[in-house]
Symmetry: C2
Amino acid sequence: MTKGLATRESTLNPSALAELLAAVGKENVLTTVEDRVCYSYDATSTRQRALPDVVVKATSTEEVSAVVKVADKYNIPVYPCGARSGLSGGAIPVYGGIVLDTTRMNRIIEINAQDLIAVVEPGVITRRFQDEVAKYGLFYPPDPGSAEFSTLGGNVAECSGGMAGLKYGVTRDYVLSLEVVLPDGSIINTGRRSLRTVAGYDITRLFVGSEGTLGVFTKLTLHLIPQPEKVEAVLAYFHDPEEAVDAADGIIVGKGIIPRTLEFVDGICIDSVRGYGSVDIPEKARAFLLVEVDGDKDVVERGILGVESACREGGAFQIVIARTFEEREALWAVRRVVSPALFKVAGRKLNEDICVPRSKIKEVVRELYSLGKKYSIHTACFGHIGDGSVHVNFLYGYDEKEEAFVDKMLWHIFRKVVSVGGTITGEHGIGTAKAEYLPLEIPPRELQLMKSLKKLIDPKGIINPGKIFLP
Amino acid sequence: MTKGLATRESTLNPSALAELLAAVGKENVLTTVEDRVCYSYDATSTRQRALPDVVVKATSTEEVSAVVKVADKYNIPVYPCGARSGLSGGAIPVYGGIVLDTTRMNRIIEINAQDLIAVVEPGVITRRFQDEVAKYGLFYPPDPGSAEFSTLGGNVAECSGGMAGLKYGVTRDYVLSLEVVLPDGSIINTGRRSLRTVAGYDITRLFVGSEGTLGVFTKLTLHLIPQPEKVEAVLAYFHDPEEAVDAADGIIVGKGIIPRTLEFVDGICIDSVRGYGSVDIPEKARAFLLVEVDGDKDVVERGILGVESACREGGAFQIVIARTFEEREALWAVRRVVSPALFKVAGRKLNEDICVPRSKIKEVVRELYSLGKKYSIHTACFGHIGDGSVHVNFLYGYDEKEEAFVDKMLWHIFRKVVSVGGTITGEHGIGTAKAEYLPLEIPPRELQLMKSLKKLIDPKGIINPGKIFLP
């Protein structure tokens, strides 16, 4: 898979290179091994690497189009990328060729409070955008864990979800219009500036979540909503993960509250983060829920009371309520450190973003723990339990036997998830990391339809090839 | 276009007819002219008609598949339909052939409060579904004006919007998974039962809003949300339509309130409904806003105060507040009668569902009124102004000169709408009614992409042919 990393010489056709240099200027074309190595990986935990032949930094739609036209002319793979913070290998140039870096296209072109929209370039960092729109009293809800460094273009490519998905939906729900450079270099515009349109097929949403395999986004028109007045949080500790899952039901079904966030963290995660930050986690906690409620002052007050009471009814033995931004941040600091802290348990971690109907969460989590026992592999769960998104983690060492066990467990869990109507990927995408598992979830006829869509839009297979579908 | 209506004999191939009879039983195959005439039209105001050769009523996925296979084998057009309440000609069998009536597939298979989902057949009436889920404390927000008789399958085909679009989104946002019979008769399942999935391309949303041109829906998995605790309404009268538009901005931008509904009705509409129902409309009212706020008791209280104050600041001279269901219904009775009441003004009415960025509403409405004056054609506006959806109405008689004027005005308004970033159809679809205008909005390359998607999925062009694209 690593296709001659190290110091592999670029095999780029010299005429193609000359045309790329002409297209974007030599300061935007990187050809040294050092530069190319920097673009050989993304944040995917498999640590897969592949060296591109050249890296091109585009600064405009026209440049992107020119680069893609060169790729089309010479039949060279082109791998669009943003911050390369994706977790499924979406940005890895598996067949070499051109990496097309769009991070310099980072202008926020317009924020329009009256129309509740913003127009941005794909390289804008998610958090920067959220902060900018907040200055206008506006809110952009999609909030992937990587928001501090991910780009909006990458978010659209992967249809990123995040913490606020249950209440506010995911990236798909906030994209009104896309400017896209198609694989032949032509530039199209999907959707409209208006909040609604049903004119023709929904091309916009065909591109959202297409993992960069159908074209390169060069401009995004996004929908915004008013910033809620207030946010408060509850952290509730439980003796047992299943109590916490039940309490989540109590909040949503029992009390009819849709919280802004509803995060679940299990015991092994808690053990890993104990001691980090300023929060004293009780010894006997084997799970916690971190729940945020937002809206008007009064809604929040009532919502927090409702969440607290649902948690107590569900068996919570200790509850912390955070009223201020600083208090909330202290709780989030604990939640955010969960994923990296799990490396304390073992040298390697596989984090899978399954999503199931909420009524099936207990069944799936139970299965995961029992597999862990059977194979003596540490397993841990956390995630956006409100919408059924559970990140299941396999923690293991650099050991072939353990690796084989994890592989078995993974197939087992994915089959289970699919059997209960869930998905093997709720938010990270298929990329290279899950291509071999995709047929578990997508039957042959549906898979064929997806492949034929790819073939239709990218007949030469030059845009982000080697992703989603097995060769 | 009417293709030999009246008593045109069926020209259906006898072998095909025999196979249809075998597929669904003779009680489900209608061949008399009387029966076929009943399926020759839908609710579109152009009153276009076309007689099918046969009407087939399916009661299961297998039957739908069998019927489509016959159509495929004999190359016969097949026109799926629900309640035929669409407003763009989506259900009209323009090339004859088979009408495939799915209204008998009207089972609500499952309502699952824990998972916040329902599984239904396509023939379920929208309002019946809303009422059923309400019994579980749940809410299905898409609420087209035709909800009393439209089917959910039809809603998905057209991606219906309706009153609650600004706050709650449209049909697209509530479809998790579809069972679809493809044009070759094969059955596929898109999406998952879980609230999230990003596995592969978003096939689900390619089908939502495809106007029945890519396949026949046989099962829908829909997302539900908790029923809000309370709804209250404000009716605010203004001396001038532009004051009302500004007040809408005051509510959304000024107060940061996203109301459940935000309906605008102009003076000519008001004059048409005066005297209907129990609401005394003040003489000098030239516009009103009907605004609903929903949520917790306290949110609603504060929201109503905010709406009231934004309306007063915007120039409202009289305000009615409806606290109870009955009081609200009295206000809605007025709003609902607007569209039919406009026939008092003239014998014919063309109602176009444009949608524009909210900052452009005044400009477009002004243009409409000035065109009306120029051509001496009555024009009227009402609609879901919160998301920029304005129904523009042309009221005219059975007169060739007026018809020609309306045609001119329509082209003018559509061009205007497109020039400000809006759409010629925010919720009714293109169908036959707007196919000639679609190229105004969708450029050639994008249109070609859409046509190639149709060709890919329906290579023989047998599913709902003659829609969206000009031949």
